[in-house]
Protein backbone atom coordinates (compact mmCIF):
# COMPACT_ATOMS: atom_id res chain seq x y z
CA UNK A 1 0.00 0.00 0.00
CA UNK A 2 1.30 3.38 -0.91
CA UNK A 3 0.36 6.61 0.73
CA UNK A 4 1.83 9.90 -0.41
CA UNK A 5 4.97 10.85 1.42
CA UNK A 6 4.70 14.12 3.24
CA UNK A 7 6.76 17.23 2.70
CA UNK A 8 6.21 18.81 6.09
CA UNK A 9 4.48 17.12 8.98
CA UNK A 10 4.63 14.11 11.25
CA UNK A 11 4.78 10.39 10.84
CA UNK A 12 3.48 8.99 14.08
CA UNK A 13 4.91 5.51 14.07
CA UNK A 14 4.91 2.35 16.21
CA UNK A 15 1.40 2.93 17.45
CA UNK A 16 0.07 -0.20 19.11
CA UNK A 17 -2.45 -1.77 16.74
CA UNK A 18 -5.91 -0.44 17.49
CA UNK A 19 -4.80 2.84 19.06
CA UNK A 20 -4.74 4.96 15.89
CA UNK A 21 -8.44 5.76 16.02
CA UNK A 22 -8.19 6.67 19.70
CA UNK A 23 -5.44 9.13 18.85
CA UNK A 24 -7.43 10.45 15.91
CA UNK A 25 -10.34 11.20 18.20
CA UNK A 26 -8.54 12.47 21.29
CA UNK A 27 -6.26 14.79 19.30
CA UNK A 28 -9.22 15.83 17.13
CA UNK A 29 -7.23 15.22 13.95
CA UNK A 30 -10.50 15.21 12.02
CA UNK A 31 -10.77 18.95 12.59
CA UNK A 32 -7.51 19.73 10.79
CA UNK A 33 -7.46 21.26 7.30
CA UNK A 34 -4.40 19.32 6.20
CA UNK A 35 -4.12 15.73 5.01
CA UNK A 36 -4.25 13.03 7.63
CA UNK A 37 -3.63 9.39 6.75
CA UNK A 38 -4.32 6.52 9.07
CA UNK A 39 -2.74 3.16 8.38
CA UNK A 40 -3.86 0.30 10.57
CA UNK A 41 -2.33 -3.15 10.94
CA UNK A 42 0.87 -2.25 9.11
CA UNK A 43 3.69 -4.82 9.31
CA UNK A 44 6.13 -4.19 12.13
CA UNK A 45 9.48 -5.82 12.81
CA UNK A 46 9.08 -5.24 16.53
CA UNK A 47 5.57 -6.31 17.32
CA UNK A 48 3.92 -7.98 14.33
CA UNK A 49 1.52 -5.20 13.44
CA UNK A 50 1.31 -1.52 14.24
CA UNK A 51 -0.69 1.55 13.31
CA UNK A 52 0.76 4.67 11.69
CA UNK A 53 -0.67 8.16 11.37
CA UNK A 54 0.66 10.72 8.92
CA UNK A 55 -0.16 14.37 9.41
CA UNK A 56 0.57 16.67 6.46
CA UNK A 57 1.42 19.80 8.40
CA UNK A 58 3.62 20.74 11.38
CA UNK A 59 0.75 21.34 13.78
CA UNK A 60 1.08 21.64 17.54
CA UNK A 61 0.95 18.01 18.64
CA UNK A 62 -0.18 17.36 22.19
CA UNK A 63 2.59 15.01 23.33
CA UNK A 64 0.93 14.41 26.72
CA UNK A 65 -2.20 13.09 25.11
CA UNK A 66 -0.18 10.90 22.77
CA UNK A 67 1.91 9.50 25.61
CA UNK A 68 -1.21 8.91 27.66
CA UNK A 69 -2.71 6.75 24.92
CA UNK A 70 0.44 4.95 23.93
CA UNK A 71 3.89 5.70 25.28
CA UNK A 72 5.60 3.37 22.76
CA UNK A 73 4.98 5.76 19.91
CA UNK A 74 7.80 7.33 17.90
CA UNK A 75 7.16 10.69 16.26
CA UNK A 76 9.11 11.45 13.11
CA UNK A 77 9.21 15.14 12.37
CA UNK A 78 9.41 15.74 8.63
CA UNK A 79 10.64 18.99 7.15
CA UNK A 80 11.27 19.47 3.42
CA UNK A 81 10.90 15.75 2.73
CA UNK A 82 13.44 14.82 5.39
CA UNK A 83 13.04 13.34 8.85
CA UNK A 84 14.77 15.96 10.98
CA UNK A 85 13.89 14.51 14.38
CA UNK A 86 12.68 11.28 15.95
CA UNK A 87 10.86 11.94 19.20
CA UNK A 88 10.34 9.31 21.86
CA UNK A 89 7.57 9.88 24.35
CA UNK A 90 7.75 9.84 28.12
CA UNK A 91 4.79 9.44 30.42
CA UNK A 92 3.62 12.87 31.54
CA UNK A 93 3.64 13.50 35.30
CA UNK A 94 0.30 15.20 35.05
CA UNK A 95 -2.69 14.93 32.73
CA UNK A 96 -4.91 17.98 32.59
CA UNK A 97 -8.26 17.69 30.83
CA UNK A 98 -7.13 14.70 28.82
CA UNK A 99 -9.64 12.32 30.33
CA UNK A 100 -12.43 12.30 32.87
CA UNK A 101 -12.57 10.70 36.29
CA UNK A 102 -15.04 7.84 36.09
CA UNK A 103 -15.79 7.65 39.82
CA UNK A 104 -19.43 8.74 40.09
CA UNK A 105 -18.78 9.90 43.66
CA UNK A 106 -15.91 12.20 42.60
CA UNK A 107 -16.31 15.94 43.20
CA UNK A 108 -15.44 16.54 39.52
CA UNK A 109 -18.82 15.04 38.61
CA UNK A 110 -20.68 17.95 40.22
CA UNK A 111 -18.24 20.86 40.49
CA UNK A 112 -18.32 21.63 36.80
CA UNK A 113 -15.61 24.25 36.40
CA UNK A 114 -12.90 21.98 37.79
CA UNK A 115 -10.08 20.78 35.57
CA UNK A 116 -9.82 17.03 35.30
CA UNK A 117 -6.35 16.39 36.70
CA UNK A 118 -4.54 13.08 37.07
CA UNK A 119 -1.04 12.49 38.35
CA UNK A 120 1.32 9.65 37.61
CA UNK A 121 1.60 7.79 40.91
CA UNK A 122 3.35 4.65 39.67
CA UNK A 123 5.74 4.98 36.73
CA UNK A 124 6.48 1.29 36.36
CA UNK A 125 2.90 0.23 36.21
CA UNK A 126 1.72 3.34 34.37
CA UNK A 127 -0.88 4.24 36.97
CA UNK A 128 -2.53 7.62 37.12
CA UNK A 129 -4.81 8.76 39.93
CA UNK A 130 -7.38 11.54 40.08
CA UNK A 131 -5.98 14.32 42.29
CA UNK A 132 -9.37 14.74 43.94
CA UNK A 133 -10.69 11.29 44.78
CA UNK A 134 -7.48 9.29 44.06
CA UNK A 135 -9.36 6.83 41.90
CA UNK A 136 -7.14 4.97 39.46
CA UNK A 137 -7.54 6.08 35.88
CA UNK A 138 -8.99 3.30 33.81
CA UNK A 139 -7.67 3.81 30.30
CA UNK A 140 -10.24 1.67 28.59
Amino acid sequence: MNIDTIKNGYVIDHITSGNAMKIYELLELGKLDCQVAIITNAKSKKSGTKDIIKVGELINLDMDKLAYIDSNITINVVKNDKIIEKKKLTLPEKLVNVCMCNNPRCITSTEKELDQVFILTDKERNIYRCIYCETKLNKN
Binding site: R105, C106, I107, E111, E113, I131, Y132, C133, E134
Partner: protein
Protein backbone atom coordinates in the same frame (compact mmCIF):
# COMPACT_ATOMS: atom_id res chain seq x y z
CA UNK B 1 -5.45 30.34 47.35
CA UNK B 2 -3.67 31.08 50.59
CA UNK B 3 -0.59 28.92 50.99
CA UNK B 4 0.04 29.72 54.65
CA UNK B 5 -3.26 28.30 55.81
CA UNK B 6 -2.91 24.77 57.12
CA UNK B 7 -5.73 22.32 56.41
CA UNK B 8 -6.32 18.65 57.17
CA UNK B 9 -7.84 16.56 54.40
CA UNK B 10 -5.95 13.30 54.82
CA UNK B 11 -4.23 11.69 57.81
CA UNK B 12 -1.01 11.31 55.83
CA UNK B 13 -0.58 15.08 55.79
CA UNK B 14 0.38 14.84 59.45
CA UNK B 15 3.83 13.57 60.37
CA UNK B 16 4.27 11.06 63.18
CA UNK B 17 5.69 13.87 65.31
CA UNK B 18 2.69 16.08 64.67
CA UNK B 19 0.36 13.24 65.61
CA UNK B 20 2.38 12.71 68.80
CA UNK B 21 1.98 16.39 69.60
CA UNK B 22 -1.77 16.30 69.01
CA UNK B 23 -2.07 13.27 71.29
CA UNK B 24 0.02 15.03 73.92
CA UNK B 25 -2.21 18.11 73.81
CA UNK B 26 -5.38 15.96 73.90
CA UNK B 27 -4.06 14.13 76.96
CA UNK B 28 -3.31 17.45 78.60
CA UNK B 29 -6.82 18.70 77.82
CA UNK B 30 -8.27 15.58 79.47
CA UNK B 31 -6.07 16.14 82.52
CA UNK B 32 -6.59 19.92 82.77
CA UNK B 33 -9.78 20.94 80.97
CA UNK B 34 -9.93 24.31 82.72
CA UNK B 35 -6.66 25.38 81.17
CA UNK B 36 -8.30 25.20 77.73
CA UNK B 37 -11.83 26.48 78.33
CA UNK B 38 -11.17 29.98 77.02
CA UNK B 39 -8.51 29.26 74.40
CA UNK B 40 -10.84 29.94 71.48
CA UNK B 41 -12.83 32.82 72.90
CA UNK B 42 -14.17 34.90 70.05
CA UNK B 43 -13.43 32.26 67.42
CA UNK B 44 -16.07 30.64 65.24
CA UNK B 45 -16.14 27.11 63.83
CA UNK B 46 -18.37 26.58 60.80
CA UNK B 47 -19.65 23.02 60.47
CA UNK B 48 -20.56 22.57 56.81
CA UNK B 49 -22.25 19.19 56.56
CA UNK B 50 -23.35 18.60 52.99
CA UNK B 51 -24.16 15.06 54.09
CA UNK B 52 -25.69 14.45 57.50
CA UNK B 53 -23.55 12.90 60.21
CA UNK B 54 -24.94 13.99 63.53
CA UNK B 55 -22.28 12.30 65.60
CA UNK B 56 -19.31 13.80 63.83
CA UNK B 57 -20.93 17.24 63.71
CA UNK B 58 -21.74 17.22 67.43
CA UNK B 59 -18.23 16.07 68.22
CA UNK B 60 -16.76 19.06 66.35
CA UNK B 61 -19.25 21.45 67.91
CA UNK B 62 -18.59 20.11 71.38
CA UNK B 63 -14.85 20.48 70.78
CA UNK B 64 -15.19 24.15 69.79
CA UNK B 65 -17.62 24.94 72.62
CA UNK B 66 -15.30 23.34 75.17
CA UNK B 67 -12.54 25.63 73.90
CA UNK B 68 -14.76 28.64 74.55
CA UNK B 69 -15.51 29.26 70.87
CA UNK B 70 -18.76 29.48 68.96
CA UNK B 71 -20.26 27.38 66.18
CA UNK B 72 -22.51 27.89 63.20
CA UNK B 73 -23.32 25.81 60.15
CA UNK B 74 -25.74 23.48 58.46
CA UNK B 75 -26.36 19.77 58.84
CA UNK B 76 -27.47 18.69 55.37
CA UNK B 77 -27.20 19.91 51.81
CA UNK B 78 -30.89 20.56 51.18
CA UNK B 79 -31.04 23.16 53.92
CA UNK B 80 -28.06 24.98 52.45
CA UNK B 81 -27.15 27.05 49.44
CA UNK B 82 -26.24 23.86 47.56
CA UNK B 83 -29.96 23.26 47.16
CA UNK B 84 -30.03 26.54 45.24
CA UNK B 85 -27.20 25.36 43.01
CA UNK B 86 -24.24 27.21 44.50
CA UNK B 87 -20.86 25.62 43.79
CA UNK B 88 -18.71 24.33 46.62
CA UNK B 89 -16.00 26.85 45.74
CA UNK B 90 -18.44 29.73 46.18
CA UNK B 91 -19.85 28.40 49.45
CA UNK B 92 -16.35 28.08 50.89
CA UNK B 93 -15.34 31.60 49.92
CA UNK B 94 -18.48 33.04 51.48
CA UNK B 95 -18.11 31.10 54.73
CA UNK B 96 -14.49 32.24 54.93
CA UNK B 97 -15.91 35.63 55.84
CA UNK B 98 -18.19 34.24 58.55
CA UNK B 99 -15.91 31.90 60.49
CA UNK B 100 -12.31 31.23 61.54
CA UNK B 101 -12.17 27.52 60.77
CA UNK B 102 -14.33 25.02 58.88
CA UNK B 103 -15.20 21.39 59.54
CA UNK B 104 -16.65 20.05 56.31
CA UNK B 105 -18.36 16.81 55.45
CA UNK B 106 -19.21 16.18 51.82
CA UNK B 107 -20.72 13.27 49.92
CA UNK B 108 -18.35 13.78 47.00
CA UNK B 109 -14.83 12.37 47.17
CA UNK B 110 -12.14 14.98 46.73
CA UNK B 111 -14.41 17.84 47.80
CA UNK B 112 -11.99 18.87 50.58
CA UNK B 113 -9.20 19.51 48.06
CA UNK B 114 -11.47 21.78 46.05
CA UNK B 115 -12.47 23.58 49.25
CA UNK B 116 -8.86 23.98 50.46
CA UNK B 117 -7.81 25.47 47.14
CA UNK B 118 -10.37 28.24 47.62
CA UNK B 119 -10.28 28.78 51.36
CA UNK B 120 -8.72 31.63 53.31
CA UNK B 121 -9.29 29.77 56.61
CA UNK B 122 -8.30 26.26 57.78
CA UNK B 123 -10.50 23.38 56.65
CA UNK B 124 -10.81 20.08 58.45
CA UNK B 125 -12.16 17.23 56.35
CA UNK B 126 -14.92 15.63 58.42
CA UNK B 127 -15.39 12.88 55.83
CA UNK B 128 -15.64 12.89 52.02
CA UNK B 129 -17.70 10.01 50.70
CA UNK B 130 -15.83 6.75 50.98
CA UNK B 131 -12.49 8.55 50.76
CA UNK B 132 -10.93 10.15 53.88
CA UNK B 133 -11.97 10.89 57.43
CA UNK B 134 -8.79 11.93 59.22
CA UNK B 135 -10.31 12.99 62.56
CA UNK B 136 -11.77 9.50 62.98
CA UNK B 137 -8.27 8.13 62.58
CA UNK B 138 -6.88 10.66 65.06
CA UNK B 139 -9.62 9.59 67.47
CA UNK B 140 -8.61 5.96 67.00
CA UNK B 141 -4.96 6.78 67.61
CA UNK B 142 -5.72 8.71 70.79
CA UNK B 143 -7.87 5.81 72.02
CA UNK B 144 -5.12 3.28 71.37
CA UNK B 145 -2.56 5.55 73.00
CA UNK B 146 -4.70 6.03 76.12
CA UNK B 147 -5.92 2.48 76.48
CA UNK B 148 -2.75 0.62 75.51
CA UNK B 149 -0.22 3.29 76.51
CA UNK B 150 1.61 2.76 73.25
CA UNK B 151 1.26 2.92 69.48
CA UNK B 152 3.82 0.23 68.67
CA UNK B 153 4.08 -3.51 69.38
CA UNK B 154 0.43 -4.24 68.74
CA UNK B 155 -1.60 -7.00 67.15
CA UNK B 156 -4.63 -5.30 65.66
CA UNK B 157 -7.70 -7.21 64.52
CA UNK B 158 -9.86 -5.41 61.97
CA UNK B 159 -13.26 -6.96 61.52
CA UNK B 160 -16.21 -6.49 59.17
CA UNK B 161 -16.26 -4.38 56.04
CA UNK B 162 -12.61 -4.03 55.12
CA UNK B 163 -13.39 -3.31 51.48
CA UNK B 164 -15.40 -0.12 51.65
CA UNK B 165 -14.51 0.81 55.23
CA UNK B 166 -12.46 3.96 54.88
CA UNK B 167 -11.83 4.16 58.64
CA UNK B 168 -10.06 0.83 58.32
CA UNK B 169 -7.91 1.93 55.38
CA UNK B 170 -6.73 5.08 57.04
CA UNK B 171 -6.16 3.35 60.38
CA UNK B 172 -3.96 0.82 58.57
CA UNK B 173 -2.11 3.65 56.83
CA UNK B 174 -1.61 5.54 60.07
CA UNK B 175 -0.56 2.50 62.13
CA UNK B 176 1.85 1.25 59.48
CA UNK B 177 4.18 4.11 60.47
CA UNK B 178 4.74 2.61 63.93
CA UNK B 179 7.06 -0.24 64.88
CA UNK B 180 6.09 -3.90 65.16
CA UNK B 181 2.46 -3.72 64.15
CA UNK B 182 0.66 -6.85 62.98
CA UNK B 183 -2.80 -6.96 61.45
CA UNK B 184 -5.37 -9.72 61.54
CA UNK B 185 -7.87 -8.95 58.78
CA UNK B 186 -11.22 -10.54 59.55
CA UNK B 187 -13.84 -10.35 56.80
CA UNK B 188 -15.95 -12.39 54.43
CA UNK B 189 -14.38 -12.87 51.00
CA UNK B 190 -16.66 -10.22 49.47
CA UNK B 191 -15.52 -7.53 51.88
CA UNK B 192 -11.79 -8.23 51.92
CA UNK B 193 -9.23 -5.47 52.17
CA UNK B 194 -8.61 -4.12 48.63
CA UNK B 195 -5.50 -5.29 46.84
CA UNK B 196 -4.06 -1.78 46.58
CA UNK B 197 -4.10 -1.30 50.36
CA UNK B 198 -2.32 -4.62 50.80
CA UNK B 199 0.26 -3.77 48.12
CA UNK B 200 0.76 -0.05 48.61
CA UNK B 201 0.56 0.08 52.38
CA UNK B 202 1.08 -3.28 54.07
CA UNK B 203 3.56 -4.96 51.74
CA UNK B 204 5.40 -1.75 50.95
CA UNK B 205 6.05 -1.24 54.66
CA UNK B 206 6.80 -4.92 55.33
CA UNK B 207 3.91 -5.27 57.72
CA UNK B 208 2.79 -8.72 58.70
CA UNK B 209 -0.86 -9.52 58.13
CA UNK B 210 -3.12 -12.53 58.19
CA UNK B 211 -6.49 -12.78 56.46
CA UNK B 212 -9.24 -14.90 57.94
CA UNK B 213 -13.00 -15.14 57.82
CA UNK B 214 -13.22 -16.53 61.33
CA UNK B 215 -13.46 -13.92 64.07
CA UNK B 216 -12.49 -16.39 66.82
CA UNK B 217 -9.47 -17.95 65.12
CA UNK B 218 -6.91 -15.37 66.25
CA UNK B 219 -8.88 -13.77 69.11
CA UNK B 220 -6.37 -14.83 71.76
CA UNK B 221 -3.56 -12.92 70.01
CA UNK B 222 -5.30 -9.58 69.67
CA UNK B 223 -4.38 -6.42 71.57
CA UNK B 224 -7.02 -4.44 69.72
CA UNK B 225 -10.22 -5.56 68.04
CA UNK B 226 -11.61 -2.90 65.72
CA UNK B 227 -15.17 -3.68 64.66
CA UNK B 228 -16.84 -1.94 61.71
CA UNK B 229 -20.31 -1.60 60.36
CA UNK B 230 -21.33 -2.82 56.92
CA UNK B 231 -22.72 0.37 55.40
CA UNK B 232 -25.67 0.15 53.11
CA UNK B 233 -24.75 3.24 51.07
CA UNK B 234 -21.49 1.61 49.92
CA UNK B 235 -23.34 -1.18 48.13
CA UNK B 236 -24.75 -0.97 44.66
CA UNK B 237 -26.89 -4.00 45.22
CA UNK B 238 -29.39 -4.40 48.05
CA UNK B 239 -29.22 -8.21 48.04
CA UNK B 240 -25.45 -8.19 48.74
CA UNK B 241 -25.97 -5.78 51.60
CA UNK B 242 -28.62 -7.92 53.22
CA UNK B 243 -26.55 -11.05 52.82
CA UNK B 244 -23.43 -9.53 54.36
CA UNK B 245 -24.66 -7.10 56.96
CA UNK B 246 -24.90 -9.55 59.83
CA UNK B 247 -21.85 -11.60 58.95
CA UNK B 248 -20.00 -10.68 62.15
CA UNK B 249 -21.68 -10.02 65.42
CA UNK B 250 -19.35 -9.79 68.39
CA UNK B 251 -20.85 -11.24 71.56
CA UNK B 252 -19.55 -12.31 74.98
CA UNK B 253 -19.07 -15.89 73.85
CA UNK B 254 -16.72 -14.98 71.00
CA UNK B 255 -14.53 -13.13 73.50
CA UNK B 256 -13.90 -16.14 75.72
CA UNK B 257 -10.29 -16.61 74.55
CA UNK B 258 -9.49 -12.92 74.30
CA UNK B 259 -6.77 -11.24 76.35
CA UNK B 260 -7.78 -9.52 79.59
CA UNK B 261 -6.44 -6.25 78.30
CA UNK B 262 -7.97 -6.43 74.82
CA UNK B 263 -9.25 -3.05 73.64
CA UNK B 264 -12.52 -3.31 71.68
CA UNK B 265 -13.14 -0.36 69.38
CA UNK B 266 -15.81 0.74 66.89
CA UNK B 267 -16.14 4.07 65.04
CA UNK B 268 -19.89 4.14 65.86
CA UNK B 269 -22.74 4.27 65.20
CA UNK B 270 -23.11 0.53 65.48
CA UNK B 271 -26.13 -1.29 64.23
CA UNK B 272 -25.76 -4.78 65.67
CA UNK B 273 -22.11 -5.70 65.01
CA UNK B 274 -21.48 -5.64 68.75
CA UNK B 275 -24.08 -7.26 70.91
CA UNK B 276 -25.14 -5.01 73.80
CA UNK B 277 -24.08 -7.72 76.25
CA UNK B 278 -20.49 -6.73 75.44
CA UNK B 279 -21.07 -3.10 76.50
CA UNK B 280 -20.46 -3.68 80.20
CA UNK B 281 -17.31 -5.72 79.55
CA UNK B 282 -14.43 -3.54 80.79
CA UNK B 283 -12.59 -4.23 77.53
CA UNK B 284 -15.24 -2.32 75.51
CA UNK B 285 -13.84 1.09 74.71
CA UNK B 286 -16.11 2.37 71.93
CA UNK B 287 -18.06 4.87 74.01
CA UNK B 288 -14.84 6.16 75.52
CA UNK B 289 -13.47 6.33 71.96
CA UNK B 290 -16.35 8.62 70.95
CA UNK B 291 -15.57 10.84 73.94
CA UNK B 292 -11.85 10.95 73.08
CA UNK B 293 -12.91 12.15 69.62
CA UNK B 294 -13.88 15.48 71.14
CA UNK B 295 -10.48 15.96 72.81
CA UNK B 296 -8.42 15.15 69.74
CA UNK B 297 -10.60 17.53 67.71
CA UNK B 298 -9.95 20.21 70.34
CA UNK B 299 -6.21 19.61 69.93
CA UNK B 300 -6.54 19.79 66.15
CA UNK B 301 -8.54 23.03 66.20
CA UNK B 302 -5.88 24.59 68.45
CA UNK B 303 -3.14 23.45 66.09
CA UNK B 304 -4.79 24.71 62.90
CA UNK B 305 -5.78 28.03 64.49
CA UNK B 306 -2.25 28.27 65.88
CA UNK B 307 -3.57 28.97 69.36
CA UNK B 308 -0.93 28.36 71.99
Amino acid sequence: MNKEVRHLTNIEELSVDEIDDLIKVANDIIANPNKYKDKCNGKILATLFFEPSTRTRLSFESAMLRLGGNVLGFSEANSSSVAKGESLSDTIQVVGGYADIIAMRHYKEGAPLVACNKSSIPIINAGDGGHNHPTQTLTDLLTINREKKRLNNLVIGLCGDLKFGRTVHSLITAMSRYKNIKFILISPKELELPEYVKKEVLEKNNIEYIETNNIEEYMSRLDILYMTRVQKERFFNEADYIRLKDYYILDKNKLKNAKDDLCIMHPLPRVNEISTDVDNDPRSKYFLQAKYGVYIRMALILKLLEVK
